[in-house]
């Protein structure tokens, strides 16, 4: 029992409960002292939740080292936590590999929760008419599915970047290990607060939270706003860390164009998260204040403007889409050469295309608002900037297929997921331009076509590459490989059903199905399509379940894989798995290009004290 309470996570949650109660009590006390009625739910719960999150971080120990530093005490530069065994995954750890795995597990948990929400409302949609949900329950589940999945994606990319970036560049750890731990641990109370909205009346606005609807929504709305604002710190602080690590801690001779290509994607993503995340936090906080203090930012009666919110919101939320997909596209570019046994075609172009997408991505947010009634003259420039995104994205596709051309392609499970990513992301990419040319968007805006389009981009740009990355780097994490047969079962359950699902979404959308509706007119004749979509949804869930079973089984008893099982040139595969605590025992120097497969006698890196390192 004592051991149980010594786990950081358990302490954190207990402290969070205590902090929440304290915050609620404080507001009640203040109201009594001011002579107001003691109980008003909204300010009490919001303040309680905020204080609860801070108390969680204190309880888990995320502030401990900083507090010691402020008190002038010594804190160790590096900590060896391996004596803690599995317990280190449940408390504050400074090891980027532990934090990466913590992120991965949290990401998969959130993904499962978001997925279960989708299955529930997908079942409701299988037939027209309302079956077993009420309208407000449907809206809450649909809205939470969106935001929980978004947080799970942000956590998922943090998982991959945290685990791989220091390994790929030969660093002992991230630049700021304590900040790194803090960024992870703030995501936990943020996630709890976000999910608590379900029990506080829910909310019915979708993940976009547009006012005035979000001003009138139940109390759950505030938990949604607060949870997302806190989760934003994970992105902002995490990206500071990635950028600093890449700039400062690369191995000797690893010049910009000799970095593994995934590092370029991680940098591009981090630039966006660092500079844009504030805007979604800000826009949500403005609505929070409008609700709490009656500040009429978006209330036309008080001189506010509801369209202003949409500008602030999409200024982050469009670039955010590129935050979600750029790491995934980086994984595709990283893994493709390994399994095609051929050099990445046009390295510099692929690297620059990531930055190109990131920069153009900042100028396109208005395309979400073509029907909002924003100033008419703004619509055309936003159309041009939006279509420009197609060019760097196209460069990536052409480079990928050119990489495959004349390779010697092999098909283990990570490659299957990489290839599926390309096909799915191509569908997502090609269905984009009709949303950009304004006239066609006037038909498509707010329909199921959009739902299909962005599920394609997010599955192709995040989900499938995430699976590929886990299958690829799992042996590095555990020293064991994931079962190939279960991996293939996972692949074949998920991939065909996903194609059917997203293509049908687009089909019904074009024919008149709106998005975010709890029920649809049976006269439209969509019942059969929706039934098929629901079945596909369950097949995808079955595939993910197989994946989770595979993870647990293989971590315990998978086939041992201590060496370079993928025959990769990358530095992390030149040392035994699992990785030692502070990564490389010997430092390495970059002596070649990262992807020169097919060039006899060349290597990418050479370890200290080693004259020759032959690449098989």
């Amino acid at each position: 029992m004592k051991k149980f309470f010594s786990l950081g996570l358990v302490r954190g949650i207990l402290w969070q409960i205590f902090g929440t109660a304290l915050g609620i009590g404080f507001i009640v006390l203040v109201r009594i002292l001011m002579g107001l009625p003691a109980w008003k739910a909204e300010p009490a719960v919001v303040f309680g939740a905020l204080l609860g999150a801070i108390f969680f971080l204190i309880g888990v120990g995320a502030f401990t080292d900083w507090y010691k530093m402020a008190m002038g005490e010594e804190v160790p530069e590096e900590v060896d936590e391996s004596s803690l065994g599995w317990r280190r995954y449940f408390g504050v750890s400074l090891d980027h590999k532990v934090i990466g795995i913590q992120y991965m597990v949290l990401g998969i948990i959130l993904m499962s929760i978001g997925g279960i929400f989708a299955l529930i409302f997908r079942t409701e949609l299988a037939e027209s008419g309302m079956q077993f949900l009420t309208m407000i329950e449907y809206n809450t589940l649909m809205s939470l599915h969106g935001m929980v999945m978004i947080v799970s994606i942000l956590v998922g990319i943090a998982a991959i970047m945290n685990y791989t970036v220091p390994l790929l560049i030969g660093a002992r750890d991230m630049a700021f290990p304590r900040l790194n731990a803090f960024s992870f641990w703030i995501a936990v109370p943020a996630g709890l607060i976000l999910l608590s909205s379900m029990f506080l009346g829910g909310f019915d606005t979708g993940w976009t939270g547009y006012p005035p609807l979000s001003v009138r929504a139940p109390l759950g709305m505030q938990m949604f706003f607060l949870g997302v604002s806190l989760a934003g710190f994970t992105s902002i602080l995490g990206s500071v860390n990635i950028i600093a690590t890449v700039i400062r801690l690369r191995a000797r001779n690893m010049t910009a164009f000799r970095m593994p290509i995934f590092i370029w994607a991680a940098i591009a993503t981090s630039i966006i998260s660092l500079t844009a995340t504030q805007l979604i936090g800000l826009s949500f906080e403005l609505v929070m204040f409008q609700r709490l203090f009656g500040m009429g930012f978006f209330d036309p009666v008080a001189g506010g403007n509801p369209i202003l919110f949409q500008h602030l919101f999409w200024f982050y939320s469009h670039p955010a889409v590129y935050v979600f997909v750029l790491p995934g596209l980086g994984i595709i570019s990283e893994l493709l050469p390994v399994f095609a046994r051929k050099s990445l075609f046009g390295y510099k172009w692929v690297a620059m295309s990531s930055l190109g997408i990131a920069l153009v991505g900042f100028l396109v947010w208005g395309h979400h608002m073509f029907t909002s009634g924003m100033a008419e003259y703004l619509r055309v420039p936003f159309m041009y900037s939006t279509l420009l995104v197609a060019i760097p994205t196209g460069v990536k596709f052409f480079s990928w297929v050119a990489t495959l051309w004349k390779g010697k392609i092999i098909y283990p499970v990570p490659m299957l997921f990489t290839l599926a990513s390309i096909v799915v992301f191509l569908l997502g990419g090609l269905t984009g331009p009709p949303n950009a040319t304004i006239a066609t968007d006037l038909h498509l805006q707010d329909t199921y076509y959009i739902v299909g389009h962005f599920h394609d981009t997010l599955f192709g740009g995040f989900m499938f590459p995430f699976f590929a990355a886990v299958y690829f780097w799992f042996p590095k994490m555990t020293g064991r490989r994931l079962n190939e047969n279960l991996g293939k079962l996972h692949f074949w359950l998920v991939t065909p059903s996903f194609f059917i699902l997203s293509l049908l979404m687009m089909r019904v959308g074009l024919l008149g199905m709106r998005r975010r509706i709890a029920d649809y007119d049976p006269a439209l004749g969509f019942d059969n399509y929706h039934l098929m979509m629901t079945i596909c949804g369950f097949l995808i869930a079955a595939g993910v379940l197989v994946f989770i079973i595979n993870l647990i089984r293989s971590a315990k008893s998978g086939e041992p894989a201590p060496g370079n099982i993928w025959n990769s040139r990358s530095p992390e595969w030149q040392v035994p798995s699992p990785m030692p605590v502070h990564n490389y025992d010997k430092e390495f120097e970059v002596v070649g290009e990262p992807y020169d497969y097919g060039l006899p006698g060349s290597t990418y890196v050479r370890f200290e004290g080693e004259e020759h390192h032959d690449q098989p």
Partner: protein, 333 residues
Amino acid sequence: MKHFIVVAILVIVCTFLVYTGLTAIGLLPIQASEQAIVIDELFDVHIALISFLFSLIMVIMFYSLVVFRRRKGELGDGAFIKGNSGLEITWTLIPFIIVVFLAYLGAYSLGEIRRIDLTALQVNVTAGQWYWQYQYPEYGIASTDLYLPVDRQVSLDMTSNDVIHSFWVPEFRVKMDLVPGQVNNLRITPTITGSYKVRCAELCGASHAYMEGNVFVVEQSEFDAWVSEQQSTVVIDPVLRGQQLVQQYGCTTCHSLDGSSKIGPTWKNLFGHQVTLDDGSTIMADSEYLIQSILEPNLHIVEGFPANVMPDFKDILDQTQVESIAAYIESLK
């Protein structure tokens, strides 16, 4: 060289098949407005481009996957090719030209569908949770169904009473949000007579899914007849007028007339009975209570029902209208 010829042929065949397939299954609803014709032409360009680009990438990819796979017993790596600047510049420049061309077509189509006809019929649209309401200022009439004469442009000036809604008739293609505090304009020229549905496309709260309304496109003569019928019907009986208002504002989406429980309390047998509120107290449902509950619904919350669902009607309805609705509820004993 052989590879390139095979791939080129496959790309052409595949493009043709995808394009024919996509156009054959009927992707869009019927074209019932002049704007729809312009928009569908642009859709057609998109579908052709999508068919070509999809085939191009997929054919090269799957061709490579089959032809350049590592065969049994083979070891070794693929050909050592690191890139080709000429190719990279080509596949940057050609898409750039296509993109600019597409954007030009997009701007041109936007111009076409926003073309202003000075003889357009003016209709003011007001939406709220969860109803559509139309005013015809030229004729001094209002309606909850949208009647439009065929082949004449209509200029819809649209605003909202509460949250953001969006006006969309899929057969007309075009869509525009209704935003509180501002007026957005949408122009439609219906070309085919018949009945359609306007469906709210912007999430607007619990009953968003059911925020649908009738749109009738009729011959000019039929439209004129409908206008004069509307002008002559002036309802004097408050109960009947109340019933009309209740339909107009969609009150029965939430309040049942048959005693069943929906989002709000039922109106059956409501008048003259004691109502239990959420703080445990009771109140008599008399005319004063009903009128107050319509004007400021959050003043008294009935036990078992959520607050902040029903909008305040004090800025929407005038005194006579509220009294008429109360009279109608009173009649539902």
